[in-house]
């Protein structure tokens, strides 16, 4: 067991995989000598050299294009897009080229590649460096989408993403970078498409992702003091989606909440709610409720950003009010 920060877990996973596969390469802005602007790639240049750890110009289309062309000709690649907001400048690559080319060519080509990017708010960076873009990626057939909440999951899920033969968008949360946890020794490889029940409960299910997972857990702890037993599910991967874990939990608890950092419209939770309604509606004791950032660009000021993104208080109060109302009806 070793204690590892979420930030160090990224380089730890990449090093584990680059040692395993001598063909694996990575590219991105400031990832080599600088170790990445979030210090997630520190040490990789020293160990693996400049041919395998490549700095690029500020050219997001060229970065993803190079990754795609290398992947389709047999070289597995990790590409870093510094902030997930910048996916917007290379969205053609992601949405039109990388995601669709396997289907369009009747399976002639494959894309063993990972697009890593720093996602989410809490850093007071304002509307263009704080977005949660899970839903941008989730809505495109052909992309897998992963968003870990713990250092151990960063290692295990990043390794699984690298070994996956399909393109994976791997969202690293900026506000979790400093969080630390013990991780087991030895090679760590997890599985995509597996949600994790991180707290068991019987009265309500909360599905959360990345930074919202620790907040949901803290809210659940407070709700326990009010006699409400909450099950918290860390969704972990949006595509493939572990609907079985969600359906099983909701059938047991009868209440469903999502905690989403993205702005309201078309957030990932909306898809989950729709699946729950279609498949276990008669097990529900009340309406499913989405706790999201309002449908606004994220403001920069700390006070405003904290009002926007779902907080422990907001999760606590929303669940308390809803479950209370339900029990009185």
């Amino acid at each position: 067991m070793a204690e590892l920060s979420y930030r160090d877990a990224v380089a730890y996973a990449i090093a584990q995989e680059m040692r395993r596969d001598p063909n694996l390469v990575m590219l991105g802005e400031d990832i080599a000598a600088a170790g990445g602007v979030f210090k997630t790639t520190v040490g990789l240049l020293d160990e693996f050299g400049p041919d395998r750890v490549r700095d690029t110009p500020i050219s997001e289309q060229a970065i993803l294009g190079a990754a795609m062309g290398a992947a389709m000709t047999g070289v597995p690649v990790i590409a870093e897009i510094m902030f997930s907001d910048f996916i917007a400048v290379c969205f053609d690559m992601l949405a039109n080229e990388i995601a669709k080319s396997r289907y369009m060519t009747d399976g002639q080509v494959s894309f063993p590649m990972v697009v890593r990017t720093a996602n989410g708010g809490g850093s007071r960076f304002g509307a263009q460096h704080s977005q949660s873009v899970e839903n941008w990626c989730m809505m495109i057939p052909g992309l897998k989408v992963v968003a870990p909440s713990t250092p151990e999951d960063v290692v295990g899920l990043l390794a699984a993403s690298i070994r996956d033969p399909d393109p994976v968008v791997f969202l690293e949360h900026k506000s979790l970078m400093a969080s630390k946890a013990e991780i087991p020794d030895g090679e760590l490889v997890d599985q995509l498409g597996k949600a994790k029940v991180v707290r068991e409960g019987s009265d309500a299910t909360i599905a959360a992702l990345a930074l919202m997972v620790p907040r949901a857990l803290e809210a659940a702890e407070r709700l326990a003091n009010d006699g409400i037993s909450v099950e918290v599910i860390d969704v972990r991967t949006l595509v493939p989606l572990d609907t079985r874990a969600l359906l099983t939990s909701v059938s047991k608890t009868g209440r469903f909440f999502t905690v989403e950092e993205n702005p309201r419209l078309c957030g990932w939770g909306a898809e989950l709610v729709s699946i729950i309604d279609e498949e276990v509606f008669w097990d529900l004791d009340g309406p499913s409720i989405r706790i999201t950032t309002p449908h606004i660009p994220l403001p920069a000021a700390a006070a405003l950003e904290d009002m926007a993104v779902p907080s422990v208080d907001r999760i606590y109060e929303t669940v308390l009010k809803s479950v209370d109302t339900g029990s009185r009806s």
């Binding site: 289309q61 060229a62 294009g65 795609m68 039109n96 080229e97 033969p165 498409g193």
Partner: protein, 353 residues
Amino acid sequence: MPTDPRYDYALREPRLPSPVDTSLAEADIDKGTRLGMYRKLQELRQFEKRAYDLFMQNLVKGTSHLSLGMEAIAAGFGTAMRPDDYTFATYRGHAHSLARGMEMGPAMAELLGRENGVLGGKGGSMHLTDAKRGMMGSYAIIGAHLCIANGAAWSAQMRGTDQVAVAFFGDGTTNIGAFHEALNMASIWNLPVVFVCENNLYMEYTPIDAITAVDNPAADRAGAYGLDSILIDGNDPDAVFLTARDVIAKARRGDGPSLVEAVTYRSGGHSRADPGKYRPEAEIEAWKGRDPIPMYHDRLLSMGTPEGELSSIEREVAQAVDAATEFAKAGAEPGESALMTDVWADGGSQWRN
């Protein structure tokens, strides 16, 4: 209707072709290579003429973008490339696919949306791909595939295979950001990639010189990326072949990328929907006189090739196109079983359990 040539492009001064460089008959290209190029020219021309006829019969749905008049570029490069080199083409990619050896039957069947199409009907005219022949795809969003070609070239460089990637694109592509990102990256990484601008003088419906800061949209930008300015006659297969041979050899020996601007003209409009009326009549007429195929036919005759040898190539190709048409027409419509396959590498499309 505007009558100002700034807005009514058909009133502009015609851009006329350069005269044929007759000295190319003396170029160091062996007869077999030249006859091979003539066969490719015939294949590309006859295939696309048939494709056009099939649109008219409503057997080809959707859109399609023909290279009629521009075949010398695909034929010249296709001849100079090694079988394991990589081609990246645009939505105007029929010619480049055939020039790399894609079989005509499955290509035609793809245009007809049939199960026996090269992509099983899932890609269509704008996405022809034949990865096992190095035809790594036709990309329908301007600019992207230059960046992707870099990746294939980077991969070849890392694997030490001395393969070369060639990306073909139109003049319109030179004004999108991805073009500039790709050229810069290719140059700084010394990638074995060749960028070939097929300047047919029109970005879709607009003259390229009306919307570009420089006269030669690719060649005049080369210097910005530390590359030589290479401007060639894209309607002369020998000129194209000689340049292709040089720039591919340069890339193969590790001396980095090249940007080639090949000036040409499309006989028809941008796509199926476009009659091409924005072009001055005199310009269209002048370029008809520079059609690469009769010119090359005459050059081969003047070099002593018997007429019978050329006409038998033409006849063989016509038979192949007929056979491809029959193959395509005989294909079934794709079945439902194909719909949900090959989103993922496991062959399926499952996104949940």
